[in-house]
Symmetry: C2
Subunit: 353 residues, 2 copies
Amino acid sequence: MTDIFDLDTPAVLIDLDRVEANLKRVQDYADRHGLKLRPHIKTHKLPRFARRAMELGAVGITVQKLGEAEVFADAGISEIFLPYNIVGAAKLARLLALHGRVHITVTADSPETVEGLSRTFAESATSLTVLVECDTGMGRCGVQTSAAAVALAEKIVNSPGLRFGGLMTYPAAGQVEANAAWLTAAKLALSDAGLQADVVSNGGTPDLWRAHEVTAATEHRPGTYVYMDRFQVAKGVGSFDDCALTVLATVVSRPTEDRAIIDAGSKALTSDTLGMTGFGLIEAYPDAVIVGLSEEHGTIDLSACAAKPSIGDKLRIIPNHACVVSNLFDRVNLISGDRLVETVNVDARGRVD
Amino acid sequence: MTDIFDLDTPAVLIDLDRVEANLKRVQDYADRHGLKLRPHIKTHKLPRFARRAMELGAVGITVQKLGEAEVFADAGISEIFLPYNIVGAAKLARLLALHGRVHITVTADSPETVEGLSRTFAESATSLTVLVECDTGMGRCGVQTSAAAVALAEKIVNSPGLRFGGLMTYPAAGQVEANAAWLTAAKLALSDAGLQADVVSNGGTPDLWRAHEVTAATEHRPGTYVYMDRFQVAKGVGSFDDCALTVLATVVSRPTEDRAIIDAGSKALTSDTLGMTGFGLIEAYPDAVIVGLSEEHGTIDLSACAAKPSIGDKLRIIPNHACVVSNLFDRVNLISGDRLVETVNVDARGRVD
């Protein structure tokens, strides 16, 4: 079997044993708390890990793009949640076609989105389930108040071709109490209006271990938990030993005593800092700082390192943000320990629409 | 012909008339000053624009990865400069194979890189031309002093299979005088040692219009000039009317009076800020600020806008950094005015190694 350090670089390595442990750990947590798990595939973009999560008990998958839903439907996944406002004729036609072959559910946060969905599904044999997206603190999409959630739910109920499915949020990290209070109040307001939210869908990995405190939620949609990354470790969600995705890079230059250049730049690690210093953790040199990235070069400050790498050395790097790395590589290497198991295509990479 | 506003989003639009004008303007400048032009293809990753630049007078192309060189060699480009330290057995074997079918030239900044190249090319029928990479202020790769440049040039001269070709730099933006002085001194030091730099290759778009002030340089390698972007406009290299690459996005949500959400996030625009505020310029709403990106959402602050977009509106966005956008899309749309001419594959996208 190939040693991973014999792979050409930059390359993405996915530790299968850590993936399995991460999937199990989170499914066990959800089971303990009676929460359903609907993992987000944006992190791995690989049908095999979606299937494995469902074997372990996940009730379906979450995707963020129609193109991702199409890839996973082709791979045999039939329970797909697309928490996005689907807008425009081209996408509505694709959604209708998908709905004919898998169980797909979407969200809306405006009358305009609901009207487009209803026009598209009015003649459909089976109705489309639509959840109301709520802005519980993230400041992105979502209705702003309980009253607006009720009004939009009533509009869905009264729209031909649609079925009201409940509430969905992607919450702000660290605001568990506010998120929980928002959803509880909205659920109560729906109830007062004679409506029932069958599903209340909460998401995110940063506050994953507190998901059960959001008592109104019926399910959780974590994504990054499958691989973990430097940001999630900084948030305390896991340790570096849980990180399943690393980027293998080669030192190509040592221009000064304290500087190394690697062949992984923003095209491999991305320029996401997520508020942190540096662009990743170098496993063998934890005191080194990746201080800058251009597209094909990473610049490393070695001034805090006792031992220093040489030209030709290969380094494993835990990136700041695993999800965006998965989107940059056509292929990733599945490994066990230091051995390559299989190199596979990232089937849903680059599905931009 | 399809109207560009009928395309599904997010989509990349490339204005062919602006590309042609940008290629001509810079070739004319180089011709006026007796500078050779060796454009960097990282920005467009499309053989057609490399061929067009060469028709207009460019002496060859520059690439940053072996994988890019392979794509452009397959497309019939036979004069390729790869200004990178090629390190490791896998890449050296690919370089040797490429050298058998096109004229490819590389750089080195260390004895280790030179030794690897020499081991690989010692038995080659034709020698490999190697330039010495110089760090004239960028703080990335490159020898640090004129003396080190001479020493490495002498090592190349004495290495079987290699030919010393001259000097190369990627300079720091805004440091034209320092860059010019560095290269002049190094050229003199080489001359004192009895060595001649046939090529002195300078690069970059930010200081493009001052390239002729770097009098030691024989050629220039601009990349972004073909498309331009918000960063280059901020640097004064051109105007927004020169920007050939835009991202078309749809407004999918208007959660508040002052907030719009578009379907282009970091997977479409990238998180590159290059030190600027916001993640791109919205052409129809120049007072709007793209304040945040997650992978599939862009968050826009409309508080400074008199008129505001509605759900379903399509917006054209000039990104901060065009090169990284080209790497995120499998296909781009070539346009003329508001009409689609052709949708083409980005042949060298995702060539990470």
